[in-house]
């Protein structure tokens, strides 16, 4: 069937499997598939969680969905150690454990991702500057190997494989289950402070000054130009300490069908951005909001990706080191707004230091994410942006990528060879491949 990920670009024809148990998953890998010519072929495909990566990292001719592997397997109420199957969503975890006073150590911008996907993409959250990535809070995981063996991996056991798998985009095997550290919180609501910053330099200074804030993220007006380039609203958040616990609410609005893409143009987006930037903000007072509203504002609009129309969109997220950040981000914003491209939601975030995972995205610096409606003249622009990012020592997020070149990837992820060697040694290179991994020459 035709399948695409969250960006709705690209679309590919795939055979889907949804094994209901670890043993069924194992059989799927080991049983050879008959082909038309009568010969048999071994498994060649990729694992897929809830399909919330944007590009082609969870697309292949054969796809193993983990959504039926969705059981909670063990929970220690003293330590907060939770073991769950790979297909369990972060939404499920928050739904079950927030009311009991526990929270995930790291949450990305949507809670509708699976634990397996969060590990494979080594996702980050609004607390990255203090707490690092999701993978850094994985106590251990069990990985189904090409030979059918299930290996226990952690930072102390099979550590090379562990660091290849966290952020490894599913290319080392299939994560069966994982044990993660939940975190005690004093209250589930968030006390938010909103700071309006008139240009890029100021928002970066504010990020530096608020390094002690547990959570920080900025919305940025990517269409503002000149002296207003990079004007932003910076949202700082701390957990409430009132001892009240409520899981993020489910339900809300939905986008029932693809909206005509022409509704999103430089004028409508510019208008939206101007209105949003100028909305009434009192930077002195704290606002108490629900956790879902702070962490997952877009989750309340189901299928918001349909707003970008039938052809879908690309999310362009890059990181550049601190020293080059101001120059690089300014150039990217100038170049994209000159081309009249922009998005409703551009998100700026200061990262803490990187980690030991081979293909993990974050590094000490700033990351900017922008959504671009797919248009024929978009790809050349993104190639231009790539060279700006790479010239400043940055790189692109694999979970969002659908188009970067092999050369771009290999230049910006210097440890790719270690992953390739590990894959060759285990035979994973013959069984676990996505459209992305083939494009990037992994």
């Amino acid at each position: 069937m035709q399948i695409h990920s969250w960006g709705r670009y690209p679309t590919t024809d795939a055979t889907l499997h949804s094994p209901r148990s670890p043993s069924a998953l194992r059989r799927l890998l080991l049983d050879t598939q008959p082909t038309d010519s009568g010969a048999t072929t071994a498994f060649d495909g990729i694992a897929r969680g809830l399909g919330r990566s944007y590009g082609d990292s969870a697309l292949a001719g054969t796809i193993v969905q983990t959504r039926e592997l969705d059981q909670l397997l063990a929970f220690d109420a003293d330590t907060g150690l939770l073991t769950c199957a790979a297909g369990v969503s972060l939404d499920t975890i928050l739904h079950c454990f927030t009311p009991r006073g526990w929270f995930l150590p790291v949450v990305p911008g949507t809670r509708f991702v699976s634990v397996g996907g969060a590990i494979a993409s080594d996702v980050h959250g609004k607390n990255h500057h203090l707490d690092g990535t999701f993978g850094q809070h994985v106590h251990s995981l069990r990985l189904l190997q090409p030979d059918g063996e299930v290996l226990n991996c952690s930072s102390t056991e099979n550590s090379a494989l562990f660091h290849a798998t966290c952020g490894g985009m599913g290319l080392t095997g299939i994560i069966v289950d994982a044990t993660i550290n939940l975190r005690r919180i004093p209250g589930s609501a968030i006390h938010q402070r909103t700071l309006r910053t008139p240009h890029l330099q100021e928002v970066m200074e504010r990020f530096e000054a608020s390094a002690a804030s547990t959570y920080s993220v900025a919305w940025l007006d990517c269409l503002a130009r000149g002296s207003a380039l990079g004007r932003s609203l910076l949202f700082l958040g701390e957990h409430a300490t009132d001892g009240q616990f409520k899981a993020p609410q489910r339900g809300g609005l939905g986008v029932p069908f693809n909206s005509p893409a022409f509704l999103l143009n430089r004028y409508s987006m510019s208008l939206f951005n101007t209105l949003y930037y100028n909305r009434p903000v009192n930077s002195q007072t704290e606002q108490r909001i629900e956790a879902g509203q702070y962490f997952f504002p877009l989750d309340s609009i189901a299928h918001w990706n349909r707003l970008y129309g039938r052809k879908g969109f690309l999310q362009y997220q890059f990181v550049v080191p601190d020293a080059a950040a101001l120059a690089a981000i300014s150039l990217v914003l100038q170049r994209s707004s000159a081309a009249g491209k922009g998005s409703f939601l551009s998100v700026l975030k200061k990262f803490g230091s990187g980690n030991d995972n081979l293909l993990s995205f974050p590094l000490q610096g700033y990351t900017l994410a922008m959504d671009f409606k797919f248009e024929n003249n978009l790809l050349p622009l993104l190639d231009e942006l790539d060279s700006i990012v790479l010239d400043h020592g940055g790189r692109l997020y694999l979970a969002k990528d659908a188009r970067m070149s092999e050369a771009t990837f290999k230049r910006s992820y210097p440890r790719w060879e270690e992953l390739a060697q590990l894959r060759a040694a285990s035979g994973a290179d013959r069984m676990f491949n996505s459209l992305q991994s083939r494009r990037l020459g992994l």
Partner: protein
């Protein structure tokens, strides 16, 4: 805290319903053919908040064990507040048209095994003089359609049986609920091309079911708009309907 018996516990809808009841700290007794799944589900439901989870491997097509299994549940729980029957199989219509053996097998699984279980449950529940029996049938039972009438007629048999049983158990204060899901995205419907506004997730259907049971509805369409759709489908004159490739 309620005592809930789930028959066909490994079905996608049953799994989702069990989870909702686990969050309400119910005691659950799960029956399913698949021992590996039962063990996984037991852990899962306990972590989600169930007060107690018991399970037993059970094949609904083995009619001779039905009585003993219900006794086993009653020995464990003392009483049953909700018996939720949701096992079933989606028939291969073409094969059933050619081979009566296949059709008979479908009637065994989707209708006769349910009626056998209802016979045992009704006896115990009428003595208990409380509780609720909820059975998953299907919108396919509302009207015979050429594409799916073996499955549909098996479900219709159960629906009609439930109507009668509802009247019989009314004076014993036992509620009988007929649950008719529409298109649900589950492993049972794996072979069918999905997508479009009429398909629902098992979680969504489960929420409709739990809400409907709480309100003690007689017939739950899940989701509710299927009541309207089936009203339209059932009101098409036969002279026209027989010409439609539905």
């Amino acid at each position: 805290m309620k005592n809930i018996l789930v028959i066909g516990a490994n079905s996608a809808i049953a799994r989702a319903v069990s989870r909702l009841y686990a969050e309400e700290h119910c005691r659950l007794f799960l029956l399913s053919r698949d021992a590996e799944q039962l063990a996984l589900q037991k852990q899962d439901l306990q972590i989600r908040g169930a007060t107690e989870v018991d399970c037993s491997v059970f094949d609904a097509n083995n009619f001779s064990v039905h009585e003993a299994v219900i006794d086993q549940v009653l020995d464990r729980f003392g009483s049953i507040d909700l018996a939720f029957i949701c096992h079933g199989s989606l028939s291969n219509q073409a094969q059933c048209e050619e081979h009566f053996d296949s059709a008979l097998q479908e009637f065994h699984t989707n209708a006769l095994s349910v009626i056998s279980l209802l016979t045992c449950l009704a006896r115990h529940m009428s003595i208990q003089r409380s509780g609720c029996i909820a059975v998953i049938t299907s919108v396919a039972g509302d009207r015979g359609r050429q594409s799916n009438y073996v499955y549909g007629s098996a479900k219709a048999m159960v629906s009609t049986y439930l109507q009668g049983l509802r009247g019989r158990l009314f004076k014993s204060q036992v509620d009988v609920i007929d649950i008719r899901p529409g298109f649900v995205d589950t492993p049972m419907t794996h072979a069918i091309k999905k997508g479009g506004p009429l398909w629902s997730s098992p979680e969504k259907v489960a929420q409709c079911i739990v809400d409907g049971i709480r309100k003690r509805k007689h017939t739950i369409y899940a989701p509710g708009y299927w009541r309207l759709i089936m009203l339209v489908v059932c009101s098409i004159p036969e002279v026209l309907f027989k010409r439609l490739k539905l």
